[in-house]
């Protein structure tokens, strides 16, 4: 019998459209189920409905069975049965910060057990056991405010697990984590499932890492479970039926599916292979088509030089150059990548070198206190106008600190930052953030001050001045001015919202949005300031693939209007697709700033999965599209 079985389930908030309809799925005992779906597809609402105490109030139809017994919503948990079920289900949410109840790690671990009314001796044993399993001993006595984001989420997991639930539901638990913390979190889930047999139901965007452990994949679209099955079965189905979500699939699977149409003509045997999901499977598949990689024998050369036969495609067609109108049409998409390296590409390369320097940091030194270690140690950075630079690096390396220094919120104790040749300290603050420097901070929630998204966005547009709001001035100057402005505001917001795909959320409260949606709204808010230089701190946190694509298109468009972008990010795939140049942030400096393709192809560890799959054959291809283009090219020739 399935642990949870959902039949024809539907849900609507009071006075709301049905959000979920005819949802049917089973979660078997001991399975590792991954729930996939776009931002705002109702995943969170669905997962909460499976928990008797957390379920939102609203109209429920159909049935949810917990081991054959109906599971009903009971927010106060008065009945014994729902109490028992609630204790059997652990729930971990997306925001690691706001789930923590108490101030000490040990107290947080004991919290659930205290609620169960266990005696101290028993709590002590269970807390000890769980800390050992999760490796928490080193920070057991610490304050929770001293923990890193990854540690906080592990703590949330541990303090759910200490109650020994049979089912663990997790709602995008790694969306706010850096890749290394996310990795160790997923490893921990795997251990719980594999070693302890805990049933796991987890909603995720990032499939690449979690997929090898998944036994079942549920795909949610348009308010119901559209595809379910083992990853091997489900992934080709999802990619065929919902091509817009294909980008969320593992890179190996995407490369396989997208190049298969060409390949099948050549070798029909290839198509009968099961779909490759991991990097290793992807490599095997390419090897089955192209044979032994040419570089394997001469590996020393493989690093920097391009493959002799297959020149990789590079994505930046030359379409830059100053565009006079300051109003970019946000909805138009840039040209897709195509073709091999051309003269145009070389030209744009030249342009980049000759363009004036937009942002420059010289020999920056910074630390938070006299006794603290230096976070930046003689950092140099120079970004030309119209360039997109991505800085990657591990957590706590000072990337966000760099953003605060580049934006003048903090000052280096040695060295200087220059914007277009001018010292940052000489630019008055009211000029600095006025059509000049746009900054997207790490936490989008800190950007919101109004109660609807559209009002919040409008708050940054040039306002109707106080004088204009007086009725008598209106009469003197003639009415209409205000309306015209309001009209313009609305139009601008609508355009931006459409480009980022957040039109539906404009009337909602910014705090009610999912993490990804908040991120997009915050980005739009910054863009409405029409900055010439854009600093982005983790722009892709919580974004699904579709949203990432839109952000990339938008950044390319801004670039064509001469906007300079510097972003710090953990998201290597995003950096490879969006940026012109990339650098590694390490030990307080930016090392090896190079064009993205050179950068990622010469990195062995810090590189994209597409590059890991195909680097032996196409050393300079770092994004999925480039690998596909190279594959098609080499199969045709």
């Amino acid at each position: 019998m399935a642990l949870i079985s959902v039949r024809d389930f539907g849900f609507a908030f009071p006075q709301g459209e049905p959000l979920l309809h005819s949802v049917s799925c089973d979660v078997e005992e001991g399975s590792f189920t991954v729930l996939l779906g776009a931002n705002g597809s109702g995943k969170t609402t669905f997962l909460k409905q499976l928990h008797p105490v957390l379920a939102d109030a609203g109209t429920r139809t159909g049935s949810v069975l917990w081991q054959g017994k109906p599971l009903t919503r009971d927010s106060s948990a008065v009945s014994d049965s729902s109490t028992a079920i609630a204790e059997d289900i652990g729930f971990v949410m997306q925001r690691s910060e706001s789930q923590i109840v108490t101030d000490k790690v040990w107290h947080e671990l004991a919290f659930g057990l205290e609620n169960l009314g266990l005696p101290s001796s028993e709590i002590q044993r269970k807390v000890a056991e769980i800390s050992t399993f999760f490796g928490i001993q080193e920070w057991f006595d610490k304050d929770v405010s001293e923990l890193s984001g990854g540690q906080k989420q592990i703590l949330n997991l541990a303090s759910s697990m200490v109650m020994n639930p049979r089912l663990l539901i997790l709602d995008e638990p790694t969306a706010q984590l850096d890749p290394i913390s996310a990795d160790s979190f997923i490893q921990m889930l795997h251990r719980l499932n594999y070693e302890l047999g805990v049933t796991i139901l987890v909603a995720e965007h990032e499939l690449q890492k979690i997929l090898p452990f998944a036994t079942q994949l549920l795909f949610m679209a348009e308010g119901h479970i559209a595809v379910s099955g083992t990853p091997q079965e489900a992934i080709p189905q999802i990619m065929r039926r919902y091509p817009q979500y294909a980008a969320a699939m593992p890179q190996a699977a995407q490369i396989f599916m997208e190049s298969r149409t060409d390949v099948s003509r050549e070798t029909s045997a290839v198509t009968q292979r099961p779909i490759p999901l991991t990097i290793g499977e992807g490599q095997q598949w390419i090897e089955s088509m192209l044979g032994e990689p040419p570089q394997r024998t001469q590996k020393e050369r493989a690093g920097r030089e391009p493959a002799p036969v297959l020149a990789p495609t590079l994505k930046h067609e030359s379409e830059s150059g100053p565009v006079p109108a300051p109003t970019p049409e946000l909805s138009s998409a840039p040209k897709p990548a195509s073709g091999l390296q051309t003269e145009a590409e070389e030209q744009s390369e030249d342009e980049r070198v000759t363009a004036p320097v937009a942002l420059e940091a010289r020999n920056l030194w910074f630390r938070y206190g006299a006794a603290e270690p230096d976070l930046l140690r003689g950092l140099d950075l120079s970004v030309r106008k119209g360039e997109i630079l991505a800085l990657v690096g591990s957590n706590g390396s000072g990337k966000s600190t760099l953003i605060s220094l580049l934006s003048g919120v903090r000052r280096p104790y040695r060295g200087s930052v220059r914007l277009e040749g001018k010292r940052l300290t000489r630019i008055p603050e009211e000029r600095l953030f006025d059509h000049y420097l746009g900054v997207l901070p790490q936490d989008p929630q800190t950007m919101f001050v109004k109660s609807t998204v559209s009002a919040d966005l409008a708050s940054v547009l040039p306002p109707v001045s106080l004088v204009h709001r007086l009725p008598m001035v209106d009469r003197l100057r003639g009415r209409g001015n205000e309306e015209k402005l309001a009209e313009r505001e609305k139009e601008e917001i609508a355009q931006g919202a459409e480009a980022l795909g957040i039109t539906e959320v404009l009337d909602r409260h910014p705090f009610d949005l999912s993490g990804g949606e908040q991120q997009l709204v915050a980005l739009l808010k910054v863009l409405l300031l029409r900055p010439r230089i854009l600093l982005l701190d983790e722009p892709t946190k919580g974004l699904d693939e579709e949203a990432k694509k839109r952000v990339i298109e938008l950044l390319q468009l801004l670039k064509n209007h001469g906007v300079t972008t510097v972003m710090v990010t953990h998201d290597i795939e995003f950096a490879a697709r969006a940026a012109d140049r990339a650098g590694l942030f390490f030990n307080g400096r930016v090392v090896s700033v190079e064009p993205v393709n050179t950068f990622f192809s010469s990195n062995n560890f810090y590189t994209t999965s597409a590059s890991r799959i195909a680097r032996d054959w196409f050393p300079e291809a770092v994004t999925k599209d480039e690998v596909i283009a190279c594959l098609k090219h080499s199969i045709r020739s």
């Binding site: 706001s98 101030d103 107290h107 919290f111 303090s159 901070p441 705090f511």
Partner: protein, 334 residues
């Protein structure tokens, strides 16, 4: 240093009992000898916990100026006392008693400040939460949650203020001129502050919802809660607590029996020093208090001694243990 302090490792109740009685005795018995002993013990223990430099800085920057100010101010406003030293033009008098009393008051201030260095180091926040929880069980969870929320709130406040700065002064610019005038700048500052406040308010509510979900998901409110503490209540703690109670009781008895009498108004009378002769109780009170106030340091000394003995024994023991425990059994079988 603090990590291996045996008094810090004691049960919070022992810590509480000690600090409450030492501070209480020093504050209510204004006997100069007691004050001096108390100050010296507090300073020594603070040095042991925090280092010489920290205590020196505190004394130079805070305690010494405090003493001077209090000692000077008291005679300016307090004109009681029988020993007239000088009469001011406005008829007010400067008396010896007022000056002495000012110095004594300044002394109590120095004593309290010095003890609070150790109180801060020893009574960590979770010990405090525990002690409150012993008295009001529900309060301990609320306190713990507040201690969680306050740093989070401060961080969010700082981040929001920075973000709003990033969003800049677009609001302050007027459409007609494109320039900024002084008033619109001020107005803008007020608006931003209001916006940040209201955003933080919303954020707090939002955070509270998440926290309550997280609590509900972990069975909060289903049953009667218990309260887990990582502190152990063992024989050593019982002994220490008894010692503290007995010592404090002896000193209190000494105070009430007049052994530690001190009077500064209208005339000065301090047992053992001025006017009043020392009794047996005076000596008992002073000696007991001197030992009692140095309890943490005594514990440190004992622990150091014990460790040295332990090491010696372990060293000699390892020689003896060369013979395997079952060696004798094997011999018998032969």
């Amino acid at each position: 240093m603090v990590r291996t302090d045996p008094f810090t490792q004691c049960h919070p109740l022992v810590n509480f009992a000690f600090f409450v009685s030492v501070l209480g005795i020093s504050m209510f018995c204004l006997h100069p000898i007691i004050l001096v002993i108390s100050y010296l013990s507090a300073t020594l223990y603070a040095i042991a916990l925090k280092g010489f430099r920290h205590v020196l800085t505190l004394n130079a920057a805070f305690i010494l100026p405090g003493i001077v100010v209090v000692a000077l101010i008291n005679p300016m406003f307090n004109h009681n006392g029988v020993t007239l030293l000088y009469t001011f033009d406005n008829g007010n008098s400067l008396t010896l008693e007022a000056i002495v009393y000012g110095i004594v008051l300044a002394g109590t201030l120095a004593v309290a400040t010095s003890w609070f260095v150790s109180v801060n180091a020893v009574l960590t926040r979770d010990k405090f939460v525990y002690a409150v929880g012993r008295i009001f069980p529900t309060a301990s969870l609320i306190l713990s949650m507040s201690f969680r929320f306050i740093p989070l709130f401060i961080r969010q406040y700082k981040a929001t203020a920075v973000s709003q700065k990033y969003l800049g002064s677009a609001r302050a610019r007027t459409v007609s001129t494109g320039k900024q005038n002084w008033w619109s700048g001020k107005w803008q500052k007020v608006r931003t502050a209001l916006a940040v406040t209201s955003a933080l308010f919303t954020w707090s509510l939002e955070n509270a919802i998440h926290v309550s979900d997280s609590m509900k998901a972990r069975a909060y409110g289903h049953r009667r809660r218990t309260s887990y503490t990582p502190y152990r209540w063992d024989a050593r703690n019982v002994g220490l607590l008894c010692g503290i109670v007995v010592a404090a009781a002896l000193v209190v008895v000494s105070i009430f029996s007049g052994g530690l009498e001190s009077q500064y108004d209208p005339s000065i009378a301090v047992s053992g020093i001025v006017e009043i002769n020392a009794t047996a109780w005076t000596w008992i009170g002073v000696v007991v208090f001197a030992v009692f106030a140095n309890l943490p340091l005594v514990l440190r000394g004992v622990a150091a001694l014990q460790w040295r003995l332990y090491e010696q024994r372990a060293l000699s023991g390892s020689q003896a243990d060369r013979r395997l425990p079952y060696a004798s059994v094997l011999q018998k079988e032969d």
